[in-house]
Amino acid sequence: MEALKQKAKELLQKGDVKAVLGYAVGTGNVRRPHFARTPEQVDRLVLDEKCTQNLATYLTKHEVKHLGKVAVVALPATQRALLQLVAERQLRDDAICLLAMDGTEVKVLPSGAAVEQHLALKTDAMPTADKAMIEKLMAMTREQRWAYWQQELSRCVKCYACRNSCPMCYCEHCTMDCNRPQWVPVASHALGNLEYHMVRAMHLAGRCVECGECGRACPVGIPVHLLTFFAEESTAKQFGQRAGHSTKLDYALSTFKPDDKETFIR
Amino acid sequence: MRIGYYPGCSLLGSSREFDESTRAVLTALGVELTEVSDWNCCGASSAHVLNHELSLALPARILALAEQAGITEILAPCAACSNRLLSAQQELAAHPEKIAEIEAAIGMPYKGTAKIVNILEVLGRLKDQIAAKTTKPFAKKVANYYGCLLVRPPRVVNFDRPEDPQSMDLMVKAVGATPVEWPFKTECCGAAFSVTRTDIVAKLSGKLVKDAVKRGADVIVVACPMCHSNLDLRRSEINEYLGEQHGIPAMFITQVIGLALGLDPVALGIQRHMVPVEFKETAAASAQ
């Protein structure tokens, strides 16, 4: 922790970055994002197992971009999100500065290439609980799955927390905001909820970095992250392309192979 | 250098001199051989064509035993053995789903981590040392006979050029021999017909012997027990078929190197051959 603070202070003092984005203790002992712009503010940084939020989400926001270069305390999922954001041209490679933990050592990753290399050391799979849940759902009958999701989604109030917390949902104009035509009904009712979550999952297929932030952000506890996890896994399984592993764009749904194999097209 | 060793059946039977000369030469070069304990048949000849599961399980057991003994690299001097080991290892690597079934069959875990090497690869690494330790240059004209399993199929063995290979030629050069330009390096010797159809062996190997002599070779050098059987053990059938008497000896590459290193010919099993290892005075030899 002290090493991290030390590095953060160094970066600020040298003027390499304008701010360090990390975690601090918030109300009720939760971990909240914290922008440290002075060495004093750095002292409030914490990093422990309670820090789970994917901070990459903030980097595409106008307000943060206006700050200048920001160093980010980056968990593996955050690192992946940053790579994907560079691939999707939402961040410039030279705007990247990551503080990543490698055991007890703090590493400064100053470029996409450095992140790629660092990430290559780790195979960060989906949490086993989520994997098990997806398997459990797939073992159900189709009707049971329908009932499960209808039950779950009935609690959705369409607050869009899942969307807003997602590092890859950076669009300024979301399909949900589209009203000519009004693709998806605005109100939170059975049809609109199903459609919203289906669209969100499709838009993240091949792009989801599997941080699970959307699921954690949901105020009514719907496991919405399972949808994007599933879509990403389906894409990866079928096409062998994965999000968040390279600064070079390799999006499965805008590329193809003539011999892609499916079994259902008649 | 320490290396695992899988002799296989031939090296304990008809080609005992291959085992003897391999051990003698490698020991002389400071290589320590660790024989895989409790090894079994590699599945060559019949098993692999009759039962696919067996073709995987037999080599897998050998490799699993090697893994248990902490062997990371395993030498199988017999070309058929190394070919079987490689084939099985590659198939299991490409189809990991088959591993569980094979593990159940052999009753031990299999990882497939041991690297399989043939005798020419091992000798190739030691070439400089061999050249330096050569006390009695093998000043003969040599027809290098690779046969089929050492270089084929290329996707399995991935060793040397499948047509007109070079590794043995370079090896014998290092001990002072002159390889002859020979188009029959990989022609068929008759292989397993050695036992069942000696007439075919006589015809096929006869062609090899005759051409090697015609191109001025003093000796045919091999690295496969099967090749050796056909060219040596079946020489009387060959000569009968050709209607000519050819006394050109067939030797294992390890024997050639052993002689060059000045090792005892008996330790190399030279006396075990059907065709005596005797050389008439040749131009290459007298030049020395």
């Binding site: 999707e88 041209r89 939402q90 950076y170 669009c171 300024e172 104009h173 979301c174 399909t175 589209c178 000519r180 035509p181 693709w183 838009h203 764009l249 999006y251 749904l253 805008s254 590329t255 | 050029r161 499948p162 047509e163 007109d164 188009p183 029959f184 051409d211």
Partner: protein
């Protein structure tokens, strides 16, 4: 409120007998937005069209649904009619009551109801249609032809004769290509150079053609009608204007032992050289890799003997950028080398040669002056074996395709050999004889029947040397796989035709697609064989697939006609069914967030980057822009765009949404 007219056609009995057209017309009257609805016997007839045009004026209609046959049949007819009545043609849609309804369903109420439904869908669509106008793109009427072989020369001549400027770029010092290396040509056995050389001269002298030999395309920007091509003119090391082509430098060059590319390594040349005597332009180049001066700093004999002082040792490559309207690729092919055949000795036997080497041996202008001499010792070969499909149709060699020309040239080679060596024996090993073409099969029969060439159906497994002979071991599959062994003096491998060196690199420079084997991909295998997927770039000859001379020439003229068609108007007019990226006022400027995921989805490289600049020139945002000159209107980008920033004119989100909501 829209004022839409619905015109239901009976198509005689074709629709009328199954669908109650009068009822349909009546039902449509009550659809909101419909101002006028009638039925008529034949809408496409003159009176029918006139009736429609009058109704448009009388009822002040702003959109029209014609419920008749398939839009694939008469959409242009009715759009023209509507346009003549003063309504934008893209405000007219056709409901397919015939092919999709009356012809395929029983006569009953459900069918009539379906007819009305089909119309209602389009009425709702039209409410969201907007007038569209043809896209105009200016055209620079200069063509560039890349590759100066027979295909490239033909394209250049055809375009030039059509009255437009052509720049013919060739990487080697002379135009002529592979055809200039050939001895005689099948199936007529006329001398290749005799027919090609006049064309080469014609191209060089044509007032509309500029030759750029010893030059390569370096970079291509822009799009159809408006390319900017950068060409690297490699330094010939002499002043082409001063050089008269007298050849004195070549005679005096002391370095005479360089392997001659034109003769496929069977002859030698000097360091300053022209590739062959009939070269166009007849100007030498200095091969700096082999020139003594460049290696040792001494020599300069050529400079001393040159009567016009044209030698320029210090000359460097020059980059030239040219405005071009259309590009034709005619970069040809290469042959697989004999080194690629381990079973035939890895290319180490001098007397195992490839087809192009045989051409040089047989050519009157070749290294042996057309006398049959084998390369190793210059002896006349008494037995020659020709092996067709060497590498072709062989997956293990990476060439599963048929090289197409080998069956014919192998027959020709065997024939030429027999004509030159009457007592000689010629054998051909083949897999199948593919001699489809005018007078082609007759030609092969002639080789077999009149010239006594022995054709053996089977493969050759191995060739090795024994007592100065090449032992060719094969099988005769028509004799039940009987092994065949031939003692030959020379073996000719009809090696596979492969895409030319660096063709993939060139394809990437030009943004055209290419297949697994590096051949350039045509836009459609049947219907657009000389076009590429990139507008304004066309294909001719063997750069697309293996081709013989007649096919290359025919394809060249086809490509030229495409270019001439493009150049026939000052502006290129295109259907406005193209994608557009949404634009709006700041601070968002566009729904587009610039993720460019659409870029790889576009089959036409039509998606570019556009920078939105502030007044002070600062980049505010980078978004996608569709180049309407390149977009073909497939809409794949639209479905890829998450923010719905891209839409397809004519099949917009609103239109399709409206259609579905009518169901």
């Amino acid at each position: 409120m829209s004022r839409i007219g619905v015109f239901t056609c009976h198509c005689g009995e074709n629709i009328g007998a199954t669908v109650d057209c009068a009822k349909v017309a009546e039902m449509c009257k009550h659809v909101p937005g419909v101002a006028h609805s009638v039925d008529y016997k034949y809408m496409c007839s003159d009176p029918g069209q006139r009736m429609m045009q009058e109704a448009i004026k009388e009822h002040n209609l702003d959109g029209v649904v014609v419920a008749a046959c398939s839009p694939r049949m008469h959409e242009p007819t009715f759009r023209r009619a509507v346009s003549n009545a003063g309504v934008n043609p893209y405000m007219c849609e056709m409901a397919n009551l015939r092919e999709h309804c009356s012809w395929v369903h029983e006569k009953n109420d459900a069918t009539t109801q379906k007819a009305a439904d089909l119309i209602r869908v389009l009425v709702e669509k039209i409410k969201h249609n907007t007038p569209l106008y043809p896209i105009k793109v200016p055209v620079t009427k200069t063509a560039m032809v890349v590759g100066g072989g027979v295909a490239g020369i033909q394209v250049a001549l055809d375009i030039a004769n059509g009255g437009h400027k052509v720049i013919l770029v060739e990487k080697s010092p002379s135009i002529g290509g592979h055809m200039s290396q050939l001895s005689e040509t099948f199936p007529t056995l006329d001398c290749s150079q005799c027919i090609l050389t006049p064309r080469m001269v014609e191209a060089a002298q044509h007032p509309n053609i500029t030759l750029m030999t010893y030059s390569e395309v370096e970079k291509v920007d822009g799009f159809i009608g408006n390319f900017k091509v950068t060409v690297r003119k490699k330094a010939r090391k002499l002043d082409e204007k001063l050089c008269t082509g007298c050849g004195l430098c070549i005679q005096k060059c002391p370095n005479k032992k360089i392997s001659d590319e034109f003769n496929e390594g069977l002859g030698t040349r000097t360091a300053i050289y022209v590739p062959f005597p009939q070269a166009v332009p007849n100007r030498p180049v200095i091969d700096t890799l082999n020139c003594t001066f460049y290696k040792t700093g001494k020599c300069k004999v050529c400079e001393k003997v040159c009567p016009t002082n044209a030698i320029r040792f210090e000359q460097e490559d020059e980059l030239v950028t040219i405005d071009i309207g259309a590009i034709v690729l005619a970069t040809g092919f290469k042959l697989m080398k004999t080194e690629a055949f381990p079973e035939y000795g890895y290319g180490k036997h001098k007397d195992i040669i490839d087809g192009m080497q045989f051409e040089r041996l047989a050519s009157a202008s070749g290294p042996t002056a057309g006398v049959m001499k084998r390369p190793s010792d210059g002896k006349e070969p008494e037995t020659v074996v020709f092996i067709a499909c060497s590498g072709s149709r062989d997956r293990s060699k990476g060439v599963p395709y048929c090289s197409k020309v080998c069956c014919m040239y192998t027959a020709k080679h065997a024939m030429l050999y027999k004509h030159k060596v009457h007592s000689g024996k010629a054998y051909v090993f083949y897999m199948d004889i593919r001699a489809a073409g005018k007078d082609y099969d007759e030609f092969v029969r002639r080789a077999i029947e009149e010239d006594d060439v022995k054709y053996i159906r089977g493969r050759v497994s191995k060739i090795y040397e024994e007592d100065g002979k090449l032992i060719v071991k094969g099988a005769d599959t028509l004799m039940g796989g009987e092994p065949v062994e031939i003692k030959a003096d020379m073996v000719v491998l009809a090696t596979a035709v492969q895409s030319n060196d660096r063709s993939e690199e060139l394809a990437q420079t030009l943004h055209v697609s290419y297949d697994t084997y590096g051949f350039f991909a045509e836009a459609h295998p049947k219907l657009r064989p000389v076009e590429t997927n990139t507008g304004g770039i066309f294909l001719a000859g063997a750069c697309q697939a293996p081709r013989d001379i007649p096919e290359s020439v025919a394809q060249a003229s086809a490509a030229a006609s495409k270019v001439l068609g493009l150049f026939s108007q000052d502006q290129l007019t295109r259907e406005p069914i193209v994608a557009v990226v949404n634009r709006q006022a700041g601070p968002t400027y566009s729904y587009c967030v610039g993720c460019f995921l659409c870029q790889t989805a576009c089959p036409y490289q039509a998606i570019e980057q556009e920078q939105i600049l502030a007044r002070n020139g600062e980049v505010i945002k980078t978004i996608a822009r569709i180049n309407p000159g390149l977009c073909q209107g497939c809409g794949t980008c639209v479905a890829t765009c998450r923010t719905k920033a891209i839409d397809l004119q004519g099949f917009s989100n609103e239109q399709l949404y409206a259609e579905i909501m009518t169901l």
